[in-house]
């Protein structure tokens, strides 16, 4: 149910994002989704990739600080109000969202919402009970 995500620490310097994505590309690893969270001084790049270990090792070797976390990927139909509906369910279940980001898959029918919750177990139970589809890492990569 959980999807592995890698996170990379970034100083706010020009060219860092290009460097990281090049390193990943050189390893032949495909990026499925990403988000950048930033402050005035630093940022955190979060990535969903098709080969977590390969990307992580390559970045570490180049001296980046890399972490691995579990997130949930919720599939919703790509229609007006799709996101709002999920967020209402989350609010109703009393779940705290640490962060989220989203992408639309190639067919354009469904959107994938990536969530990091404070309480992941509770989130899985609540979302399953509400009948949402939680994707695995493999499923995301084969979309």
């Amino acid at each position: 149910m959980r999807v592995e995500q890698i996170a990379v620490f970034l100083e706010n310097k020009s060219g860092r994002l290009a460097e990281i994505t090049s390193i990943i590309a050189e390893e032949g690893v495909n990026i499925r989704a990403l988000s950048v969270a930033d402050t005035a001084d630093f940022g955190i790049l979060r990535l969903i990739v098709d080969n977590v270990d390969k990307a992580q090792n390559a970045l570490k070797e180049k001296g980046f600080t890399v972490g691995k976390t579990n997130v949930l990927a919720v599939e919703v139909s790509d229609k007006v109000g799709g996101l709002a509906k999920v967020l209402r369910s989350i609010e109703g279940a009393g779940l705290n969202v640490e962060y989220m980001y989203a992408f639309v898959n190639k067919s354009g029918e469904n959107a994938v919402l990536i969530f990091r919750f404070e309480d992941m177990d509770k989130a899985i139970d609540s979302l399953m009970a509400e009948g949402y589809t939680l994707l695995t890492g493999e499923q995301i990569c084969s979309l």
């Binding site: 970034l10 100083e11 930033d38 001084d41 955190i44 979060r46 001296g63 600080t65 890399v66 990091r116």
Partner: protein, 436 residues
């Protein structure tokens, strides 16, 4: 464990005996420099003191201080007391803050240096049969050759590996079975980092003890080095002007503090502002008089190092006074908006925070009329999080702890690993960009 001494009789002599030796040597020294070295004679004449006025150790206070500027003014050989054909070696400081200072040694001085370094190695529990991995820099810097000669004198096997080429050093350590590491503490951490990268387990090495010096380091850094390299870390102190490493040395039995080899190097603690000698146990500037050195003796040399003398008896049986780990310099002290800040205090705060690595630097600037201090800390995997909030909390905690401990507000910048320059020798921690 039985204590090992190099020169047991002198190292365990009752203080009254030691002081009579010191006085005898002091009188001889003052007479000699007065006769042979014009700058000393002029200074003593100006202060109205003659060699025959020195009749007790307390009379030392009548003599004028010698400053680093005196060494520069007499660059390169003006303070030598012997003709150059008796000088068998010179060393020199890097001269980053101006003209370098040059020191000279006669053959007897080199023997003296070797024997105090052998004493220092014994303090650390080293013995003949040990394999000494000497990663202090060889060259004009006194660290490498000073440690080298002492370890040879002791009868140990010396690997003169010097600084740099870190991966090769680790291979040598593993293949040769190094038992004693001698380096700067920051380079020791550098070695530990590289071992991690090479997947060499320190437990699989034979290192037993590390003799670290040439730069200030904190108790927390000691724990870090001991844990990461799986050895006992002890502190050595010295400066090239006095002889090089081997002026004082921590023993493995000590609960802190380094035994000064005071039959050769007579210490005083003074108030750096007034020059007054402070009562025993008080903290102040360390001043040394070299009692036995031939080529380049110094009288009341101002080290600018802040320390304290401890006359309490030591578990090792040595009667030699101990000096506290140097807690700062009278000159690397930063004054930030009127608050005195030593980089070692910032380090102390950082090492007290779980997971924070000792890779940091301090940048001081002046904006308008206001000093700003930024502490840059590398984000290692131990403290990294994918959540902004967690990293911001960490930065805020560092800021708050520094404010608590030092009473000064700083900004904290988290930086990527390896952005702070790794030292092969002394780590440069402070970048003072204020234009005064």
């Amino acid at each position: 464990m039985t204590t090992r001494y190099w020169e047991e009789e002198i190292e365990t002599l009752p203080r009254v005996g030691l002081e009579s030796i010191q006085l005898l040597r002091l009188k001889r020294l003052v007479a000699r420099v007065y006769e042979k070295v014009k700058p000393y004679r002029e200074k003593m004449d100006a202060a109205g003191v003659k060699p025959e006025d020195i009749n007790s150790l307390a009379d030392l206070q009548k003599l004028p201080f010698t400053y680093k500027d005196d060494l520069r003014d007499n660059y390169p050989f003006g303070l030598f007391t012997v003709p150059l054909d008796e000088v068998v070696r010179v060393h020199a400081s890097s001269g980053t803050t101006g003209k370098s200072t040059v020191v000279g040694y006669t053959e007897a001085d080199i023997k003296l240096w070797s024997s105090v370094m052998a004493r220092a190695l014994c303090c650390a529990g080293a013995h003949s049969g040990d394999i000494v991995h000497n990663a202090y820099g060889y060259g004009l810097f006194t660290g490498g050759l000073g440690a080298h000669y002492g370890a040879e004198r002791l009868g140990a096997t010396v690997i003169p590996v010097s600084g740099g080429n870190t991966k090769r050093q680790i291979n040598i350590m593993r293949d040769f079975g190094s038992t004693v590491l001698m380096s700067t503490p920051s380079y020791a951490l550098n070695l530990a980092d590289a071992m991690g990268e090479m997947e060499v387990d320190p437990q699989s090495l034979s290192l037993r003890v590390g003799i670290f010096g040439a730069e200030p380091w904190s108790e927390n850094m000691r724990e870090e080095v001991e844990r990461k390299l799986n050895l006992k870390a002890v502190d050595i102190y010295g400066l090239s002007e006095i002889i090089g490493p081997g002026v004082s040395m921590e023993c493995v039995a000590s609960s802190g503090g380094m035994h000064i080899f005071e039959d050769h190097f007579l210490p005083e603690i003074i108030d750096p502002q007034t020059g007054e000698v402070l009562p025993p146990g008080e903290k102040g500037e360390l001043v040394f008089t070299t009692l036995t050195k031939e080529a380049f003796p110094l009288i009341r040399y101002r080290t600018k190092d802040i320390s304290r003398l401890m006359y309490e008896t030591c578990a090792c049986g040595r009667t030699l006074v101990r000096m506290e780990k140097v807690t700062g310099r009278t000159d690397d002290m930063l004054i930030i908006r009127g608050v005195n800040v030593f980089p070692s205090q910032v380090e102390h705060v950082l090492m007290g925070i779980d997971g924070v690595e000792p890779h940091y630097q301090i940048v001081v600037e002046r904006e308008g009329n206001l000093d700003t201090m930024q502490v840059q800390v590398e984000v290692s995997e131990n403290i990294f999080s994918d959540e902004i909030r967690v990293l911001e909390n960490l930065a805020n905690k560092i800021k708050a702890d520094i404010k608590d401990y030092l009473g000064v507000t700083c900004s904290v910048k988290l930086v990527e690993p390896k952005t702070i320059q790794r030292s092969e020798g002394k780590a440069q921690r402070v970048f003072d960009r204020r234009k005064m």
